[in-house]
């Protein structure tokens, strides 16, 4: 007879710890599972930001978090995309917009028609047919100040002030019945690959059936688990520093974040209500921390206010579930905050954990399945990030030349080849980003398909043209129906 998992101990900090606590409490709290958190000191400073892709909204729904309250508590703003600038030399910036509807004509991807029309002289960019991209460029989003949303086929992503978001999650978890205790870890008692108990620096020893490591890169529990070696991705990602800072708020508030390449890496501007969060991810052998800090006001055209902090960064992945310990967030995977995926990586780990939450405290054959599924998901996200690097067109800069030249994983190379040949995106199991996302960045970075499927020609040319006009008209109309972000979250609303 199996023994039910009844005691869960989360050791960690910041969003990973509290999102996990709240998620497990909501999913299993009523079935007799006790969720406790040992909260390690936060690593967030006043300049930190959480940027999220739209999928976070669904997680918030499960957690019982209300959009309006979250936005109000975190200086938060909705965004409909990310604008990539300076990634392609003289090429134009593009917006990766958060559309929810796949645009199709007769069930064929709109892209196929666009490729054909472009070959025949059409000058309209693919992005102009994206409702989310158009709305983002015009500073609009479907979200109203009270958190309600205009009905339209886009889904907002979010920016939250880091520390206030964590405060909100902690409050929500504690009031949902999670037990919390601020402490450090003194010792971890193990038997084989299992953890028996954790002794805290206040002298308390806590046993549990399931341990969650949400401590970030420190990997305080999983780091010493047998077989949980960290696989470094340094060869693919050269950036070794993450710098955070703040600049004054933007007026009017834009509808997107700005991701700008510079000679040593990239710089992200994430608008919040009361400030603009800045993140720089770069290779310190190309530009020193001091040089980057000095360059930021020039790069983003705004003064820096408050403190600037720099942390080292080492990309990679480790098996997230060993014995009775599961790592969530940075303890399992370290990726750059590119494409707003940090909270999403936590979310992905939680989805896998909830689907496979162990049924027996004494044996957990779920571990390899969790590890395979999670790793596959993460590798697809990694490849999405690598796409930006691999397709860059900043020539004669060592950092970017190398990013272009370093061989990409075979699966990504195959995606490139297929897209170039036929405008089709190969989608696998465990994908966070879907066809429209890959298409947006492929085309945005200049990867243009050479041919299109002959099925396109089944639709008469006049009908194709009418559809194009109809789509553009609809985009214009839907954008007008969305409120301006500034009117809801900026200026007077502040």
């Amino acid at each position: 007879m199996s023994r039910k998992v009844e005691q869960v101990l989360i050791v960690g900090r910041d969003a990973a710890a509290w999102l996990t606590a709240l998620a497990l409490q909501r999913a299993f709290g009523r079935t007799g599972v006790t969720v406790r958190v040992v909260e390690l000191p936060s690593l967030l400073g006043p300049a930190d930001v959480y940027a999220a892709v739209p999928s976070l909204t669904a997680l918030h729904g499960l957690l019982g978090l209300n959009d309006h309250e979250v936005l109000a508590a975190t200086s938060g703003v909705p965004v409909l995309g990310q604008r990539f600038s300076n990634w392609s030399g003289a090429g134009k910036p593009f917006v990766h917009g958060y559309d929810t509807q796949r645009v199709a004509i007769e069930d064929l991807d709109f892209l196929q028609f666009w490729v054909k029309a472009r070959a025949e002289g059409l000058k309209v960019e693919l992005e102009d047919f994206s409702l989310a991209a158009a709305a983002a460029r015009q500073g609009r989003s479907p979200v109203e100040a009270d958190g309600t949303q205009v009905e339209t086929p886009v889904a907002p992503g979010w920016h939250f002030d880091g520390r206030s978001y964590v405060d909100l999650l902690r409050r929500a978890a504690l009031s949902a019945g999670v037990e919390g205790r601020a402490a450090g870890v003194q010792a971890v008692s193990r038997e084989g690959d299992r953890i028996v108990s954790v002794t805290l620096d206040d002298g308390l020893t806590v046993a549990a059936d399931l341990f969650i490591d949400a401590s970030g890169a420190e990997a305080v529990l999983i780091g010493d688990s047998p077989g949980a070696e960290f696989e470094s991705w340094r060869d693919a990602f050269r950036a070794d520093r993450i710098l955070v800072a703040s600049a004054p708020a933007l007026t009017p508030l834009p509808g997107h974040s700005e991701i700008a390449a510079f000679p040593a890496g990239w710089l992200g501007l994430f608008p919040l209500r009361d400030r603009t969060a800045i993140t720089a991810v770069y290779d310190s052998s190309v530009m020193s921390d001091r040089d980057v800090a000095q360059a930021i006001p020039v790069l983003c055209g705004r003064p820096v206010i408050g403190e600037v902090t720099v942390e080292p960064f080492a990309p990679g992945l480790r098996p997230g579930w060993v014995g009775n310990c599961v790592a969530i967030g940075g303890a399992a995977v370290a990726l750059e905050p590119l494409d707003a995926i940090l909270l999403h990586l936590i979310h992905t780990g939680l989805s896998h954990l909830i689907a496979l939450f162990p049924v027996d405290a004494d044996q957990m054959p779920e571990a390899p399945v969790f590890n395979a599924g999670f790793a596959s998901h993460v590798r697809n996200i990694r490849d999405f990030q690598l796409t930006h690097y691999a397709l860059n067109r900043r020539f004669d800069e060592p950092f970017w030349d190398r990013a272009r030249d370093v061989p990409v994983p075979e699966r990504l190379a195959e995606r490139f080849r297929l897209f170039e040949a036929r405008g089709t995106v190969a989608i696998y199991d465990d994908e966070s980003f879907q066809e429209q996302n890959w298409t947006s960045i492929f085309v945005g970075h200049g990867l243009i398909p050479r041919s299109y499927t002959p099925l396109v020609d089944r639709v008469p040319v006049e009908e194709q043209m009418a559809k194009f006009r109809g789509l553009l008209a609809r985009v214009a109309e839907e954008v007008r129906a969305m409120p301006e972000v500034e009117s809801q979250f900026g200026g007077a609303a502040r």
Binding site: E366, P368, G373, R422, T424, Y452, P454
Partner: protein, 504 residues
């Protein structure tokens, strides 16, 4: 683009004519010109008389009228496959084209079924499936659209005479201008530089060139195998059956809306009801039974008078390592074969055709297109393979050598992990592409005798009484609604009776 791509299909049969119909029905004459070479002297295999629901998408795509096609192919409806004696002698389950129950408390139905079953008695899982109950009562009707209605929870396919279907498509293609060339292929010439197929030569001496060759020549793989030497990956170690005997019998009383598969000592026997006769056959492993014994076994196990001598068929389970190589695309048996246990043969042909249409070359053949095609086809084969192996491996039969062998054989890791997680906690991972979806896996896992020891912990969020009441309500809804369905025989008679439909 310089003009239509010149395509030659080598071989008639189901694969050849489906390929022809796909190309002719979907592409325009200025995109491709299709010719098909076949010989009346070469028989077609035509075992694939049972299909999967995906077949309807293919017919819809090219614009085939269902009732007309059914009338002309002596077709009947199919909403599942009955497996007799598979898990153990005397066992009986149906793999339905439909769901079991519905999700309760945020977890899939079977978690609650397992949970309730640990506390008290629950009905057989089949009683919660509308499609299965309809099979049990020999009833058929079209599913409705309203997702809330219990009679929307299934899908259907056909049993038909595959050679009549091929003939039907041939007429359809020829009416649309396809050129059929009568003749046997004598020789295949490769371009010495590129290694591409340059031409084929017929017995008559006629030499035919093309931009693209579609090899539908069956098991022997005239171009893909014999000329291009693309290796065949043999899966006999997992799927030991390598022969079949097929025999039609007179139509019997039992006009079932499902295929029956009965496990025998050295393989299994199929039974497929058509309008004018019943198709039967014994799929067996030559390592475990002689042809003569198999013949005797089959003839002694029929529920109607045989209408012909049993016809022998030889095959090998496995696939070509690259169906699309150079300018040749193998479709149908030339690309691989998986035994007909789950009626996947025509489905795999269809997948190949639909992908070819999407990836159809415009002027030159881009290797990235072939790479993609092969990736998709491989994935489909791998998934079907694992599902088939499950039927053989998860059994408690020890009464004959074949079953003892299959119980003990090594299975692919992908399948082993899947079985382990199901037994531990009823977990069935869903994949994005390819057959089969979780309800199919569930029916075979449970039908073969596997019972999860655990279930998803979230199931406990719902009070047990709510769950048992919910289960009972579903069971009652299913059984009441099924009683209102027409009998399969009456439905077919009314909708698509063939000229030679035999009266019940």
């Amino acid at each position: 683009m310089t003009g239509p791509l010149d395509v030659v299909i080598v071989g008639g049969g189901t694969a050849g004519w489906m390929s022809a119909a796909g190309l002719v029905g979907v592409l325009k004459p200025d995109q491709c010109r299709v010719r098909l070479v076949e010989s009346d002297e070469i028989g077609t295999v035509g075992v694939g008389e049972a299909t999967l629901p995906q077949m309807r998408e293919f017919n819809d795509l090219i614009g085939i009228v269902e009732s007309d096609m059914m009338r002309k192919t002596n077709a009947t409806f199919k909403i599942g496959i009955e497996f007799r004696d598979w898990g153990f002698k005397g066992s009986n389950y149906v793999h339905p084209f439909g769901a079991h129950g519905k999700a309760m408390g945020g977890v899939a139905f079977h978690h609650q079924w397992v949970r309730a079953g640990q506390q008290s008695r629950v009905a057989d899982i089949g009683e919660y499936s509308y499609a299965i109950e309809a099979c049990r009562k020999n009833r058929f009707d079209f599913p409705v659209d309203d997702p809330e209605a219990i009679n929307s929870t299934y899908n259907y396919a056909y049993h038909f005479d595959a050679s009549l279907y091929a003939r039907y498509l041939r007429g359809w293609c020829e009416a649309r201008g396809l050129t059929r060339i009568e003749g046997k292929v004598n020789d295949v010439a490769l371009d010495p530089q590129s290694g591409d197929v340059a031409s084929i030569t017929l017995e008559s001496g006629e030499r035919i060139t093309a931009d693209l060759f579609i090899d539908c020549s069956g098991f022997r793989g005239l171009i893909i195998g014999q000329a291009l030497n693309v290796p065949f990956e043999d899966w006999t170690r997992w799927l030991p059956c390598d022969r079949a005997l097929a025999v039609p019998t007179e139509r019997s009383e039992d006009f079932a809306p499902y295929t029956r598969s009965t496990a025998l000592e050295a393989g299994w026997q199929w039974r497929i009801p058509l309008q004018h006769r019943t198709g039967n056959g014994y799929v067996y492993s030559s390592a475990f039974i002689s042809d003569d014994e198999a013949m005797t076994r089959l003839l002694g196990n029929l529920d109607g008078k045989p209408l012909a001598e049993p016809r022998p068929i030889r095959f090998k389970s496995g696939r070509r390592t690259a169906s699309w190589t150079k300018n040749c695309i193998a479709i149908g048996l030339a690309s691989g074969f998986l035994e007909p246990l789950e009626s996947t043969s025509i489905y795999l042909t269809q997948v190949a055709i639909l992908n070819l249409l999407k990836l159809f070359p415009r002027s030159r053949i881009d290797p990235a297109l072939a790479e993609r095609f092969n990736r998709v086809v491989d994935n489909e084969y791998d998934r079907v393979r694992d599902f088939l192996i499950l039927h053989y491996h998860a059994t408690s039969r020890t009464d004959s050598e074949l079953w003892r062998h299959c119980r003990e054989m090594d299975i692919p890791d992908t399948l082993r992990d899947r079985m382990a997680l199901f037994e531990h906690r009823g977990h069935i991972a869903q994949y994005r592409d390819g057959l089969f979806s979780p309800p199919s896996w569930l029916s075979v896992f449970v039908g073969q005798g596997m019972r999860p020891t655990g279930y998803h912990p979230m199931a406990d969020n719902l009070p047990l009484e709510t769950v048992t009441a919910g289960l009972e309500a579903i069971r009652r809804r299913v059984s009441e609604r099924v009683e209102a369905m027409p009998m399969h025989d009456a439905f077919v008679r009314d909708y698509c009776a063939a000229a030679d439909m035999v009266p019940a």
